[in-house]
Amino acid sequence: MITVRCFAAVREILGWDTRELAPTDAPRRASDVLSALAGPRAADLPKPLLVAINCEHASLASLVRDGDEVAFFPPVSGG
């Protein structure tokens, strides 16, 4: 399974914070994972949208594999 997490404004817009997604045979990019779960609401998400895979910064074009945790969130503001 692929675990998908959302934070901050992304979580508020999509209305959930964690989902599981069954893996597919064909390789999927983070953008495909987002489309599969966000549907038409993907258009409302903040831009730029940041992506992390397994707790490391990644991009919408990064490949997601079975067992990965992929996260979507707005630009961060730590410190």
Partner: protein, 142 residues
């Protein structure tokens, strides 16, 4: 290197003393606090959300990168999350080095990286309503 994520407040000097770094010569600390106004609004509180597992990993990467690049003897990062009232402390970054230039550069590099890489999101609470603080978008993420 010490990395701590917590909802409670901290005493910057006590935390630095506990590390008991000897002979470093120079120590530079940054303390960030909740401002009482921002974007022309009065701020009464700040709600800080984060991504716990990633925050811990990312702070460790940020600290380790600064430690080796700026020749730091020791690094301490404490970042709070949850709801903080205005004027409360948010974050402490303290670094130790033999020389002052490295200590300043190392501390500033960590604080800059927190702003662009550490997965925290802040919501400013004001009498007019709540607003997410716009984050910074670095060019080199991923």
């Amino acid at each position: 290197m010490i990395i701590r994520l917590q909802s409670e407040d901290f005493d910057p000097e006590r935390e630095a003393q506990m590390l008991d770094v000897k002979g470093a010569g120079a120590r530079v600390s940054f303390v960030g606090t909740v401002r009482d106004s921002a974007r022309d609004r009065t701020i009464t509180a700040l709600e800080i959300e984060h991504y716990p597992q990633m925050t811990r990993a990312e702070l460790a990467r940020i600290g380790a990168a600064a430690q080796s690049r700026h020749n730091l003897q020791e690094v301490l990062i404490i970042h709070r999350h949850g709801r903080l009232a205005c004027h409360e402390r948010i974050v402490l970054v303290t670094v130790w080095s033999a020389h002052r230039a490295e200590a300043f550069a190392g501390c500033q590099a960590i604080v800059d990286a927190l702003k662009t890489r550490a997965p925290f999101w802040k919501k400013e609470i004001s009498p007019e309503g709540a607003l997410w603080v716009p984050g910074q978008t670095p060019q080199d993420l991923g």
